[in-house]
Amino acid sequence: MAAHAHTVKRYRGLMDWLTTVDHKKIGILYLIAGGLFFLIGGLEAILIRIQLIKPMNNFVSADTFNELITMHGTTMIFLAAMPLLFALMNAVIPLQIGARDVAFPFLNALGFWTFFFGGLLLNISWFTGHVPDAGWTSYVPLASPTYSEGAGVDYYVLGLQIAGIGTLLGGINFMATIINMRAPGMSFMRMPMFTWTIFITSALIVFAFPVLTVGLVALMFDRLFFANFFETAAGGSGVLWEHIFWVFGHPEVYILILPAFGIISEVVSTFSRKRLFGYSSMVFATVLIAFLGFMVWAHHMFTTGLGPVANALFSIATMLIAVPTGIKIFNWLFTLWGGSIRFTAASLFGIGFIPTFVMGGVTGVMLASAPADYQYHDTYFVVAHFHYVIVGGLMFGIFAGMFYWWPKMFGRLLNETLGKITFFTFFIGFHLTFFVQHFLGLLGMPRRVWTYLDGQGLNGMNLISTIGAILMGIATIVMLINIAVTSLKRPNAANDPWEDGRTLEWSIPSPPPEYNFKQIPLVRGYDAWWKEKMEGKKAMTPAEPPGPIHMPSPSILPFFMSVGLFISGFGFIYDKLFLAIGGLAVTLICMLLRSVFDDHGFHIEEHEQEKGVTA
């Protein structure tokens, strides 16, 4: 084979990270970048809570408060939660389906770098003094050029646009990976639950993100080129923005929560030492939630005035989602039932997730009732609800997933004691912060307002809420200490460090070699690795003879493509046409280079495989 002659291009140090197309390394990059943005968003949250610690506080100005809530929401959803999910899916999905990499390793790197530079663009606004301040939903006319002068909202529009490209690429990539790259024998109904949820989440990304793209383009045209999409005076419609935003925004909620469902399914099943209860109903429920998730967007707009017919339709559709979600909750409970449960940090987060998420779900059904929503709308009740599902649901899931897969990603187990401290501090802090906010909302405290008056019965609960937020901050610091302490240890995790691993990722070394599987495994059933273990085998049955393994070459192009978009974004924000066009030209030239010069990749020969080239 002539192809073996290609020389191996290998970079070291920083260059290695900038050029990598290895899904495991990209997963780590997502983890670092997402973690960084999580800290920024968390800091913003703490500042918000300090402002609200007492009535008529003047810790920050009203303008700064608007900027804080806008950036907190945008950062946490687009730059923290989603990348942390992408971190886990990059680290785990190819391993779970028995593949050597994702379908498009190059696009995977491109997706990371566009997300990173999009996020960077958004957060640079803090230093330029023009910070987005129209809320994370950026409703017009507030976000229109008339009412938001200056570059603030432009940062929102272009930062999200660039980050959105990365997300869309990731969605397409993981759909194609899961469809085409599964190991022999791994039929769809043998896929691990996490893989299933990522598959459905990717599909939601593919069909929801283009809607946001168009919405952002329209807002950008309105702001930069004086178009009239949302300018009422010229015949535009503010309601149109609400629709477009929420047709994207509601599936986005499920993009966030479905992977958490998948993580919880894996964790609960592993640490109960039981097969996941009702696997096929779980799959069905996931698909159904995704389908219904597209048809409920207007429940964010009950008070817009769509009329009783629309409100009734969306109300019922929303309540319907409780059915598949309930199926999932019961399946987790039945998986736990009679299992020999081990209370590790990962499983504590998994078990803590269930009641917390149920509470978020119940308030969701309350909000789904259109007449009642007129009371809850724009109060802290809504804030409490979505933090219960996003923090209590998604973040608990991400924490569970991080503790669970950390040894697979880094070859080291996180410290369990510190992990349990993190869990209990975070769990208590979370409920302190947000449980009382339900009642603040019912008492009529409006969201997004920078302060409140004394003597309205809001003081005590706001104080409790702030204390809780600080506890969550402490939990995060403990987590960081845990990561630091762990990374100083020698990597010593076994292939299957939890000993009860059920899926393929636990059948290979921790961390896996860069080609993952020396021989692609043969999958003989659901919970493939558990099945082999139960038959007394020490390794998976290979589906192919050993041989040289073909790998894609590293490339710096994704990095420069994203830099190009970043520069172009700046050009658009500050009306510098040459920068905007120059940046796009950089990106297009990189695309051209990618198309013209074929990537032949390289091979890892058998004798090199023995040395164990680790990632």
């Binding site: 599909a203 069909f207 809607v211 597209f294 048809m295 769509l306």
Partner: protein, 105 residues
């Protein structure tokens, strides 16, 4: 090394060299559908609702023709492309309903 050779073998074994006839038929069909649509508008004598129905019907039929023949959707191994396009159309359907009924009132 790949696990999914099966998808390609179906086409490769038979080696049927597809003639251009089908595509010319699809082209003429598309042409006819386009002409009908333009003619319906140019005539301008039938009532508006009916014209709308003709226009939408012609467009949808033409898209089916093109998807099936030119984009090979009728061929084997196109399950996921079909799922992808149908899901996309589902979103479009929702957006169109939204635009027509729930923006102005």
């Amino acid at each position: 090394m790949s696990s999914h050779h099966s998808t390609s073998e179906g086409g490769a074994k038979r080696h049927r060299t597809e003639g251009p006839q089908k595509h010319i038929v699809a082209f003429i069909l598309s042409l006819a559908l386009t002409v009908i649509a333009f003619a319906a508008v140019a005539a301008g004598e039938i009532n508006t609702t009916f014209t709308y129905i003709i226009l939408v019907a012609m467009a949808i039929v033409q898209v089916f023709v093109q998807l099936a023949f030119w984009m090979h959707m009728k061929d084997k191994g196109h399950l996921f492309p079909i799922i992808g396009i149908v899901s996309g159309c589902f979103v479009v359907f929702l957006m169109v309903i939204m635009a027509l009924y729930w923006v102005w009132w």
